[in-house]
């Protein structure tokens, strides 16, 4: 197994873990973290697949990943700012339909 394939598979795993967290966790900070983990997974997979071909490493996926990192950072910052305002306004860091849910996830589900 080449290291590039290993990176791509690790990226796939991170994406799956992030999706799981995004769907099942109620706390919005966890959701934002989950989206970041998904984005890291996609980046890792892009860079990994770009390095899998024979010969030179493809620079185009690397440039796309740099762009993607910047977009992720700005989206995260905007999401966190919105989340702070929401928590301040409603008193709970969740969406309205998740108001009743257990935010500490004590069962480790």
């Amino acid at each position: 197994m080449s290291s590039a394939l290993l990176f791509a598979c690790a990226g796939l795993g991170l994406f799956v873990i992030g999706t799981w967290g995004l769907v099942l966790r109620a706390h919005l900070v966890r959701k934002v973290l989950a989206i970041n983990i998904m984005a890291s997974g996609v980046s890792l997979m892009l860079v990994g697949t770009g390095a899998m071909g024979a010969g030179e490493v493809d620079p185009v996926p690397q440039a796309m990943v740099i762009t993607g990192i910047v977009v992720t950072i700005s989206a995260t910052a905007l999401a966190l700012a919105l989340l702070l305002r929401l928590a301040h306004a409603t008193g709970r860091p969740t969406l309205p339909e998740d108001r009743e849910r257990d935010l500490m996830d004590e069962e480790g589900r």
Binding site: L5, A8, C9, L12, G13, V16, T19, W20, V23, L24, A26, M45, T49, G50, M52, G53, G55, E56, V57, D58, P59, V60, Q62, A63, M64, I66, T67, I69, V70, V71, I73, S74, A75, A77, L78, L80, A81, L82, L84, R85, E97, D98, R99, E100, R101, D102, E107, R109
Partner: protein, 227 residues
């Protein structure tokens, strides 16, 4: 859905469906990764045109020249995100605690060094890994360290100049992109002789903007008064 896990907790069906979906995605993408590649990639095409791009680093050439659109829109996304965060209200005040002596000593060494590192990263981006985003991120980190350090001069955030510097990167990029247009050349198609210089100009403006935007996103609101 009532499941015995508490009100509104995701039910067993949702979890099972999610497991199936994610397993299918993993198997599908995994098989695609293991399959022989269908395309040859763009590495050779970039390598062939690198000489005409004005820089020696292929990633910088892709970012600023071959895929200039992406980078232009990326800076636009950053600027719009900053506008969004600032539109939500004034920056919250950071409650200061006593800074640790390690942070203060580090700040004394790091913050004066940062402009040098930033300039180096910006300049070296033409031939080696580096470039506007990396340089801007380092500069923004200096700003964040300054805001976080407990012992700083009590100066208000320069809101007016922050607004101008935040848009200078997008403005310079757009001016260059439109300015190179004439009869034959299209939007963002640099003239071959001037490409390197124009890209350095765009990157310098973008570095300043990225630094101010990232620091502005960190403070989390409109800069009014002290952070």
């Amino acid at each position: 859905m009532k499941t015995g896990r508490g009100n509104g907790e995701p039910g067993i069906f949702l979890r099972a469906a999610l497991v199936l979906l994610l397993a299918a995605a993993m198997v599908g993408v995994g098989l695609a990764l293991l399959a022989p590649p269908v395309g040859i990639g763009l590495g050779a095409a970039v390598e062939a045109n690198l000489a005409s791009s004005g820089v020696g680093n292929s990633v910088t050439a892709v970012l600023l020249n071959f895929r200039g659109y992406d980078t232009l829109l990326e800076i636009a996304v950053l600027t719009v995100a900053l506008v969004g965060v600032w539109a939500l209200g004034p920056a919250p005040r950071i409650e200061e605690s006593d800074a640790s002596p390690i942070l203060l000593a580090m700040n004394g060494v790091l913050i004066p060094l940062v402009p040098v590192i930033c300039g180096y990263l910006l300049w070296v981006g033409a031939t080696l890994p580096g470039g506007a985003f990396q340089a801007g991120a380092v500069l923004a980190a200096a700003g964040v360290l300054f805001i976080l350090s407990g012992q700083r001069p009590h100066v208000p955030l320069p809101g007016r100049s922050m607004r101008w510097i935040a848009i200078v990167g997008l403005a310079a990029f757009l001016c260059v992109a439109v300015g190179v247009m004439n009869g034959e050349r299209r939007f963002l198609e640099y003239p071959p002789g001037l490409a390197g210089m124009l890209m350095l100009l765009v990157e310098s403006a973008a570095t300043l903007s990225i630094a101010v935007i990232l620091a502005g996103l960190f403070i989390g609101g409109r800069p009014e008064g002290e952070p």
